[in-house]
């Protein structure tokens, strides 16, 4: 409803240019100049329209959809932060979890070679501490993962080798973040070859897919991520008892280890421990 036509009254002052109008709008003009523009605007529909255009720009910018950080950037940034993190609080700042884990990953690869797994042991660092080992389905053997489970820092040594149930790698709350989780066994892939002499299993009771799905269903009821299936699972001994550790992606940023009793099945999942890993 603009009524004042551009005419003699508005022409008394020159139309301010768009930059000046924008400056006026942003409140950066001095009092004299601002007063002149205000006076001009009162009689000039065209310049009022220009001002409306500046408002429209502002609301367009305000209404832009958010631009969330892509997961690939997130992973990269959290990995970079993890590389800064000291091994223990107050520990040697020159070392970091990432370094320690790379070292343990290297050891694991060396061991893998010793077990005839030369090509299989590409280690991928998941966040700070969890090593996600690529699985070569034709050659991978469980013993490699099992043996890779030596503490890198000497803190609370797992004693898998000396326990009677030596086939289950042993972890505690302190060491669980170092559990190697095999990727690739979850998505319909068959259990990798096992050493002829027996030994452990990656999936353990979860080798039965129906039971695994039931167990995951139970977990999702207890632990509300339900953001897709687990990335991986490992049959372990946790604080002395047979258990399953699942790795979940809990958000674009984060993963979480969920430890449940090995008796996990439909209707029963005993949550033993859960811990976030970046």
């Amino acid at each position: 409803m603009t009524s004042a036509p551009p005419g003699p009254s508005a022409a008394q002052t020159e139309h301010p240019d768009l930059d000046t109008l924008a400056d006026f709008d942003a409140g950066v003009l001095g009092p004299d100049e601002a007063g002149a523009v205000r006076g001009h605007l009162a009689g000039c529909a065209r310049c009022r329209q220009e001002l409306t255009g500046l408002d429209a720009v502002r609301s367009m910018l305000r209404d832009l959809p958010p631009v969330p950080m892509p997961p690939v950037v997130e992973d990269r940034i959290f990995a970079a932060i993890a590389a800064q993190r000291p091994v223990e609080a107050g520990g040697d700042p020159g070392r970091s979890d990432a370094v320690a884990d790379l070292a343990s990953a290297r050891r694991s690869r060396r061991r893998a070679r010793r077990y005839g797994l030369a090509a299989a042991g590409t280690a991928v660092l998941v966040g700070a501490a969890v090593t996600l080992v690529n699985l070569d389905r034709t050659t991978q053997r469980y013993s490699a993962t099992q043996q890779a489970n030596e503490p890198a820092t000497g803190a609370s040594a797992p004693s898998a080798a000396t326990e009677s149930r030596a086939e289950l790698p042993s972890f505690t709350r302190q060491t669980i973040k170092r559990v190697p989780i095999l990727a690739g066994v979850m998505n319909g892939a068959s259990e990798p070859n096992r050493p002829e002499g027996g030994g452990g299993s990656i999936l353990g009771p979860m080798a039965d897919q129906t039971r695994r799905l039931a167990c995951e269903g139970e977990i999702s009821r207890t632990v509300p991520f339900a953001d897709g299936p687990a990335l991986g699972v490992q049959y372990i001994r946790f604080e002395g008892e047979p258990a399953l550790v699942f790795l979940y992606r809990t958000s674009d940023t984060h993963r979480e280890l969920v430890v449940v009793g090995a008796d996990c099945s439909a209707g029963a999942a005993r949550l033993l421990y859960r811990v976030a890993v970046s």
Binding site: T2, A26, G27, V28, R46, V57, M60, L61, V67, T253
Partner: protein, 206 residues
């Protein structure tokens, strides 16, 4: 100066930063997780190239990780994080001033002629991003912080290390340029108001 109570599960930014300085290995992650999307938006809109933006954010956050001990509570943690990120971005853009910018990742082949009546939100976002690419980086950063991210002029001035008046004036110039560049887009969205002719039309009138 005001002590922040440590009640509730959600720790405040400053609590997280202090915990980080005190050696809590996960506090900084939590802080970054809380702000990452906003920091990313600022970086991507300022730098435009996703790779460069990722590098800038990463470098900035590593600096922040290390420099957290020197944080002074005279500004908010958010302001501090944004300051570090936006400066890393400005440095990069200035250093690589000759590099061509790359469109935002959501940009697809646009055929504006086919949808005259109503542009989807996504299309508007692309057109706006492309228009912003034509602004000097200082204006782009100021507009991103004030008009897109909703920071106050004072906060933005603190992030950019310039006077409030400078922020206002950068925003003003940026808006003026965008008004010209985006004028046609506005006209597609809403019919021109009655009683206002374009300057050209007026000149042609008898």
């Amino acid at each position: 100066m005001t002590g922040t109570p440590r009640t509730g599960a959600e720790r405040s930014d400053i609590d997280l930063l202090r915990a980080h300085v005190a050696g809590d290995p996960w506090a900084f992650d939590a802080l970054v997780r809380r702000h990452k999307d906003r920091l990313w938006a600022v970086a991507l809109r300022t730098v435009r190239d996703p790779e460069e933006a990722a590098d800038a954010v990463q470098d900035a956050l590593i600096s922040a990780y290390r420099a957290a001990g020197s944080f002074r509570a005279e500004s908010a943690v958010t302001t501090w994080l944004h300051r570090i990120v936006v400066n890393a971005c400005l440095d990069r853009v200035r250093r690589h001033a000759s590099h061509p910018t790359v469109a935002l990742p959501e940009t697809g082949p646009g055929e504006p002629a086919e949808r005259r009546d109503r542009l989807a939100e996504q299309d508007v976002a692309i057109v706006v991003a492309e228009a912003m690419a034509q602004l000097p980086v200082e204006q782009r950063a100021a507009l991103t912080l004030v008009d897109i991210q909703g920071f106050s002029v004072a906060e933005t001035a603190s992030m950019l290390g310039v006077a409030a008046g400078t922020v206002k004036s950068r925003c003003a110039r940026g808006r003026a340029r965008l008004a010209v560049l985006l004028g046609p887009l506005r006209n597609l969205d809403a019919p021109a108001p009655v009683g206002t002719a374009s300057p050209a039309a007026r000149e042609e009138a008898p």
